[in-house]
Subunit: 363 residues, 4 copies
């Protein structure tokens, strides 16, 4: 189903960039789970544009829970989260209906929806819709945390600048949880922000790679074949605007290794089973093996740049040049972090509910 | 659903490596589509182990269609394809129930299924099950071909050896269709086979990267958000054993580019719209834009190697050393090509059926 | 999925009787369909409590469309409809958490949700949620009407009082569309209202049977086996609170007939195929045959009555007597009509989208 | 999905009346469930045509389990059941492609599948496909029985002849389990068989009403709104050929009752909660309340009768008269009992898996 994800825990998304209200409906969360509105705010803060390196559009981003929560606790009924659009400037966008922005959804939306789509601000395709996604993701992230399952994401690389690797996952995830610009090293943070600022100066944009770790996931989550944990996670991740690649563990790096180098040897301390390396990113045969689930997500540079670009006037079927005004991000990777955390929480929660029953999260 | 993929065109998979019969049920194909059993055989040939660089297990791989086809044409009812297992040697595998092979599904299956799984030959996790997947994929590949949509996959790289890039897609795909070892350049074929043979000599294995192109797909296929074309394709691709990464267009390479380099400018010849580059791999906003859909798939080295490995005896909870006998592939990437072609056909056909109705394929 | 219905056209429902906002998300409607807010109001009027024979709770019932509609026309994106709860009196209901109302959801909700449910006014189980269901159903009813497919429902019987049969379906459906109390005969209307009023006097309630006809549905809608048109319709109908029976055509009356009496003979006027009788209610083998689809729906008497009833105190595990105050309907069957019309529209629209593609409804 | 039912426990059906093999794939059953092939045979016996009152087509009805079972126990992988068609007489049926049998699927299949369907013996619509449905249903019925949940169905009425009511459910279900012709009273059995025989003499057929009870189902199964237990059960039941009505508890009888008569008062013995009556058939608000789930299913008379009927030649678009030869049942209600038991088991098992997790059935 187009705007619904998940089998036992599901999320339905609706809204447009310039509509009155956007929102998401989270269904399947067990009753009795404490809902912390402060935590939702905390997560939305990470997604907010801020400072010099983001769009000038500033939304209050207040998430209002209108159902499924009673006296601060989930009831078992669907949780609907609504967010109002307040800071909309519709006049900025009307051009793109005729002259589509390269690498954006303008053209495919025009083709698919026969010209009936709400083109203002990207309409239903706008990354604005990731705000309610972050809100419901935050609910699940906290529900997972309460069961000892932690999710954290950092910017692994940005235009040739690399962050340090994950080391102590619990500490690293805890640190990332408090950072607005999500790197593990302060030096990479500075260099990356500088790179983004410089791109902005030139009216250009940059992409990068996010790396996400899920710590504490029990073995046995994920299904053979079509609902492998990789399938479920990648399905969710590729629904995030700008994501163009997903790799687990060594991922594409496997092609440089022999089996003898790539395999993760098992060992035991007599009580639990571990692997010495984690080249498989915590997943064997589509099922979690108890090691951290680690994957990387490629984020393309924001397509809305201020530099002149070649495009086409659809009405006149003529080649033309496009010069974009308006408010756009020179990079979304730092903001996309919160979205990756969220869809990861959604996918992991659904996979757990399928493997162990929705009761797993119960109060 | 665990062993079922797809919404409007779906595939359900069943069987085990050492069971009597394995098979797949394809539902949703429009009536009136000619079913060519020769083409199914042709595709199964590509998946077959052969020569020096594959497992010694040789199956007849005869796919029997037992429903949904009448007088050579699809009826609209589900198409069930059955394949018998004939060449099974169960004694080879009993060890792995206690001492799991590193990076294989042995351990996670033991945990998930509480010791009840059929452990012989990998049981339900065996790559043997990709045979019926190739059979039903072949049916859809041909149905797509009849509508001008061509799918082709080559080995892009194998342990540092690179094939040439796609050039003339129609010609390249046609050439690949006739090749058992799927490279575009004969030189890379030779070098890759040599690399695999050498790994085999040492009892080791290699992985690599497959690159797939879908040519002729109309614009407008794929949905916003959760059923983006990338989501649907990656969901299917990550269900293939050994796949650990999927990237579209530039994929992870986007992180090295500025937006001004990465964006695909539109142009027109007055009749149709094209993009000058195809860095987005034919997909914008989750929807096909009419350019070829191009993606790469990372395949890890086969985990079953003959070199001694560290593992654990689950019954004794002791560290131990594992030495594998039996019949294993030093590389599966060339055989996996047929599987990638097939799941791509399944995912694309389902996305088309959702976008345009199942009638699209009708006779 | 619990609160989502439909495959290609789907509805997701959320909210509680005493929450701030209730709503529904309609996904899969083709772009270009004119959305008539007046028609939505018109349908909501039919569901509204009014006069002497309904609850005293009066809601403004204003349905606000916040997404998926642009310049009065569907965009192809999900259509979210929100309705505020304004007239809530929470104090009326707190008793039922401990002493459940017989035949109501109070007890099963308490068991299922472990005491975390929002018990006020029936919470998520409240028939109040049928309001947004009617709103999205109205959108689809109109979309169907634009394609010549008409849906109409009358009260076939109410506590021994029978309405006349459908005769001229187009005329009858048109008449019903304008009636608040949906009978075909004015005499039955008067007698039924009198019966309800008398039950109300005694603090009692009555149920009845609704009969629904779908006129103009083309042959070929519905699938063999699990998505038979009867399966899809009954699935939707049994989700309506109070529905306890569904029968198609002769339904339970078939048990009194021989095949020779029950079969519907085919005939032709040389251009089209008809059946002489319509005992099968327009459906053969789970698929529409081009004749009107006709079914009946049993609605039980409203369980909330003012007469003393035996119940149990769950906290004390003691038998007790329950005396209900508050605002309740002595009959909901006339209001349920609009809900049956709506879920019928949803189920039929989804079945059409599956059979013919979502384009069927396109603008 | 057309030929797949269920969310967490699912069944996929395939095959045609005159194809080589028919079958079903059962997915989602927990590992460790003992599979009793004798019980499957026992259930298939009940569905078999026999004696004077059934079709002369006799199939061996041997169900072969080819996957998902290892050493007599479920593995957690999909269970595929195959059955060969051996006794097929294709020449009997070719007429119906041009001159459809009234009230049969011949006409709608022709319209829907554009003439490509396998028309022999009803093709994919043939009740022959209920055989594998009974086989997989038997697996789930036994799994339910092992958890204390019993399912039993009797012929409540057949052309004006009524069986006695359920009394002691455990004893009655146990008795029905051993009966080929499923009545609770021997006198009704005799009279019903006589009625069927007399109809057969005249070349006619009869229908009737089945009544099914599910005993021992815990409270809390079923979901609010769209996956109400009634929705799930009716969805499955209406997929059985010939079913035209489903009612729970009093069902259509509710229309004759006041709320004060219809409501089921709660009472307690200090340990458990019961209802004094069970007019709601064990379901409140779509969720099981711990009382037996009781419902009735209307089965229409077999449409294939030997008496001349009016029909149409589709090729000539002319009215004509149809005289059927071949092998047909004068009644299927006694055989349909096993199918109703089976789809009930499937629907109940899926609802339990959704409510309590698939582990519920675990070994």
């Amino acid at each position: 189903m187009k705007n619904t994800f998940g089998n036992n825990i599901s999320v339905t998304l609706f809204g447009e960039s310039h509509g009155e209200v956007i929102g998401a409906v989270l269904d399947g969360l067990a009753p009795g789970v404490r809902i912390d509105e402060e935590y939702i705010k905390h997560e939305l803060e990470k997604r907010k544009p801020r400072g010099n390196i983001s769009t000038a559009r500033r939304e209050s981003d207040e998430a209002k829970i209108v159902s499924g929560v009673f006296e601060g606790v989930s009831t078992g009924a669907p949780i609907a989260v609504l967010m109002e659009n307040t800071n909309t400037k519709s006049k900025d966008y009307s051009l793109f209906k005729d002259v589509p922005r390269p690498s954006h959804a303008d053209y495919t939306a025009e083709i698919k929806y026969g010209g009936y789509q709400d083109y203002r601000g990207g309409g239903h395709f706008s990354a604005r819709l990731t705000a309610p996604l972050v809100a419901v993701g935050a609910i699940l992230r906290l529900a997972l945390k309460n069961k000892g399952i932690l999710i954290g994401t950092h910017i692994k690389s940005l235009h040739g600048i690399y962050d340090r690797d994950f080391m102590d996952l619990e500490a690293d995830i805890s640190m990332l949880d408090d950072k607005i610009f999500p790197t593990l090293s302060n030096e990479s943070e500075e260099r990356m922000i500088k790179e983004i600022s410089e791109a902005k100066e030139r009216g250009d944009s940059v992409g990068g790679v996010l790396e996400c770790a899920v710590y504490g996931l029990p073995a046995g989550v994920g299904e053979p074949w079509f609902d492998s944990l990789e399938s479920t996670l990648s399905h969710a991740l590729f629904s995030v605007p700008g994501v163009k690649g997903v790799e687990f563990g060594l991922g594409f790096g496997f092609s440089e290794k022999f089996g003898s180098e790539a395999n993760d040897p098992f060992y035991t301390n007599g009580e639990k089973i571990f692997t010495k390396t984690n080249n498989n990113g915590g997943i064997n045969g589509g099922i979690s093996n108890g090691m951290p689930v680690v994957f990387r997500v490629a984020i393309k540079p924001t397509p809305s740049i201020y530099i002149e670009q070649e495009s086409v006037s659809l009405s006149r079927m003529e080649n033309t040049v496009l010069k974009i005004d308006g408010r756009h991000d020179p990079a979304i990777i730092h903001r996309a972090r919160a979205v990756v955390d969220s869809v990861t929480a959604i996918a992991i929660a659904d996979a757990i509910a399928t493997a162990f029953g929705t009761q797993f999260f119960g109060g």
